[in-house]
Amino acid sequence: MGKGLLKKASEYLITFFIIITLNFFIPRLMPGDPFTFLSSEEGQITVTYTEEQIDKYKAYYGLDKPLFVQYASYITNLFKGNLGYSIYYNDSVVRIIGKRIPWTVSIVIISIILSCLVGTILGSWSAWHRNGIPDKVIYAVMIPISEIPSFLIGILFLFILAAKQGIFPLSGGISTFAEYNNPAEKAVDIIHHAVLPVLTLSMTRLGEFYLLSRNSMVSVLSKDYIRTAKAKGLNKVRIIFRHALKNAMLPIVTRVFLSLGAIFGGAILVENVFSYPGLGRLMREAVMVRDYVLIQGIFIFMAVMVLTMNLLADILYVKLDPRVS
């Protein structure tokens, strides 16, 4: 066990090191630099720096030094917990990311839970009625849903539920400059704003969990002990959720943790649709303006998240499945 743990730990360490290295070099290998703005989006304006200004800024941010010197200082700073100072956003990366993490992480986590719960329930239901009408209907609905890109679903929600019906706000994570009488009011406002992004994100993951749990369930339901349970005359819900699901859970739980990376990717699109103040929007912008320092910061955060989830999945798997040691 100890040896295995050591092996695992070193695996994670190596992965992490490779990630932070790629993190440093890939942004810098992209064409362009953070200071050259010669064109703008239609109707937009931009300040074009003179060469002198660019040289000054490069020196200011240490970008005039050789790449390996920059790399060395990046690594040392990283171990000091210093993610640097954003070139474009003019603020410390930790502060910038810190303010946005809660928004993204909460919609991501809630979406995973929602899509997992609903997907599993529907999947189990479908499996029980395999090839019956409910199965066919749910299946026929789920497949297209899982294939529609998240921003399309988002725009649809935006038009119907926010713009036409006015049930939910059009954008943002909270009413701007609103004044609340008590924290509960504020929480309601935040939840109100989060509904559409969460719904959109959940929809995009729903199909995946549905299919997975349906498959897993179908194989479990063909087992002898299920036949026994049926023969005992136990009711349907009890059989599905107590006897079968327990054994069908394994791949679903793993998927919850492993889908985190993908759902963060989905969050970028969804946050852009709803102007949600999370990390996704920031990431898109950071790449667009070649803010090396911020790009590094965001990707390190993402990498740590995904690696942690992987680790959790590894640990959980051992706990859940007695066959794995």
């Binding site: 362009g32 200071f35 064109s39 300040v47 003019n90 986590i109 713009a163 994570g173 909270i174 667009m288």
Partner: protein, 525 residues
């Protein structure tokens, strides 16, 4: 076993809720507006987005950050509808040799913290900018500072000596922001200076709230503003997912619209539609270093004849644009010369100029829809004249890098600033070996024309505006004849607002956005 998973899920849900709460707490700094309740305050909401903390040093270089900063910080002159108007300086005097400027400042000008503004602040600002260039740096020509010295004559008089007598200096000095000495003299790293003190100016609006992650700003009218009375009490920028939806729901008070939905607002009394001046545009740059045959004027003219600008305006811009002028300055520019050569779309002429030569060029473009459409239409019409075009689409930054390095044959690029001082013709077309200009201003790679260079130099030192205008007109004619690059079209775009809510929107003489104009929010005739 199952309960364990349940516990984990519950823990995660709780964590999620907690995080939401934390997010909420971090936003708890709020401002209370208790103005006179008697008259309802005028609140104007505009599309937000994070464009940086509005100090001269930390707003972002892209986007309207600079105008959020100018709401707070005044300059000696302001940009009116026709030209520069007196602002912090009520009058000025330029010596005959064009080397000395004397500005007389307005009296009773106060900073937002109540301190009086004096000539000392002006001197300090100019000297501070020389040491720490602001994001938008007006005090240089071709990357070099032109200020020799700034002297305080008395509390309301400043005397500025400049290195060279140049026609554009008044506008440049006039546009530089004035920052308070008593605050900034202690600041060594202005880029990281982002306390509330950093946004103290003399301008008509005071920053009350800024939320970076949401892209929201809240400004309040400055009670002791020295100038025209603000007509807007609260000006706020809020996050918007789709600006037209937000406008329809009344969340924002003005929005840009595409021509396709114009009919919904036009002719409706509730709305007023305005057409922006054409100061944003697309152009094709020829790289004559990479493709020497482009040095041949006939070939460039063949391009000009083989491009149907009207088709581009109609199909790509959906008529919300004007065809580019071959003399570069667009039709709305104060010094536009309408007499320049106009290359009417004519494939036969293009063919005649090419004399049967077949050519093939690589065209580098960005990745916006408009650019891709423009490129496809160009490809079709140029092919008719016998010029084959291979289009390569990359992201904006990649294209900019290629332009900077001259790493292209022909490039399509789009940007604003076409309404700026006509000296932009010099930075655009003239070749000066010694210059250390902005990278876009390296002229056209491989192109140099004695006459153009000469006229460009002349207009820069001509202090008499009428004479200078003549030179600029000649220059445009020459440029149109030479056609070293092809301005394709300048967008006009429409904006719509509800006049009963607020009707003060005005343009600056050189800019295409009313919301960027400080005077839009003030009581000026």
């Amino acid at each position: 076993m199952f309960w364990r998973i349940k516990n984990i899920i519950i823990a995660i849900v709780l964590a999620g809720l907690m995080l939401t709460e934390i997010a909420g707490c971090s936003n708890s700094e709020r401002t209370v507006n208790k103005d006179n309740e008697s008259s309802k305050p005028v609140v104007i909401s505009l599309e937000g987005g994070d464009w940086g903390y509005p100090t001269p040093f930390s707003h972002y270089s892209r986007g309207p950050g600079v105008f959020k900063m100018t709401l707070i910080f005044d300059s000696l002159l302001e940009r009116g509808e026709k030209g520069y108007i007196p602002w912090l300086a009520e009058k000025w005097d330029i010596s005959k040799d064009g080397l000395e400027y004397t500005f007389t400042l307005k009296e009773n000008v106060k900073w937002h913290d109540g301190e009086p503004m004096t000539a000392e602040d002006v001197k300090f600002s100019f000297e501070y900018f020389a040491k720490h260039p602001p994001v938008s740096n007006d005090l240089t020509v071709d990357g070099k500072s032109f200020i020799k010295s700034v002297e305080v004559v008395d509390a309301k008089t400043v005397h500025i000596k400049v290195e060279k007598p140049l026609a554009i200096i008044l506008g440049k000095i006039g546009n530089a922001r004035i920052i308070p000495k008593h605050i900034w003299e202690k600041v060594d790293d202005p880029r990281k200076f982002n306390t509330p003190e950093a946004v103290i100016g003399t301008g008509p609006f005071v920053l009350k709230d800024y939320r970076k992650e949401q892209g929201a700003y809240k400004y309040e009218a400055f009670k002791d503003f020295w100038g025209p009375k603000p007509k807007v009490d609260i000006l706020q920028f809020i996050p918007v997912s789709d600006s037209v939806l937000a406008f329809d729901k009344g969340e924002i008070d003005i929005t840009g619209i595409t021509p396709d939905i114009l009919s919904k607002y036009e002719g409706n009394r509730e709305y007023k539609v305005m057409k922006n001046p054409a100061f944003w545009g697309y152009r094709l740059i020829f790289n004559m270093e990479k493709r020497a045959e482009l040095k041949d004027k006939e070939i460039r003219k063949a391009f000009a004849y083989a491009i149907d600008k009207n088709e581009l305006v109609e199909k790509v811009a959906r008529k919300a644009a004007v065809p580019g002028s071959a003399g570069y300055l667009p039709v709305d520019h104060i010094w536009y010369n309408k007499g320049v050569k106009n290359y009417q779309f004519n494939i036969d002429k293009a063919k005649a100029l090419l004399k049967g030569r077949k050519m093939s060029f690589n065209l580098l473009i960005g990745n916006s829809n408009a650019e891709i459409r423009i490129a496809e239409l160009l490809k079709i019409s140029l092919a008719k004249a016998g010029i084959e075009i291979n289009v390569k689409s990359v992201d904006m930054k990649t294209r900019d890098a290629a332009v900077k390095k001259g790493n292209y044959e022909i490039v399509l690029t789009g940007h604003g600033g076409w309404g700026n001082d006509a000296d932009l013709l010099r930075t655009m077309y003239a070749k000066e070996k010694t210059s250390n200009q902005s990278p876009s201003a390296d002229g056209i790679p491989g192109y140099s024309n004695e006459q153009i260079n000469e006229l460009c130099k002349l207009q820069l030192i001509e202090m008499d505006p009428a004479k200078r205008k003549d030179i600029i007109f000649k220059l445009q004619e020459l440029i149109a004849e030479e056609i070293p690059q092809i301005p394709l079209y300048n967008t006009t775009g429409y904006i719509v607002y509800r006049p009963y809510k607020y009707d003060g929107w005005k343009y600056m003489f050189d800019h295409h956005e009313v919301t960027h104009n400080k005077l839009s929010y003030l009581d000026v005739k």
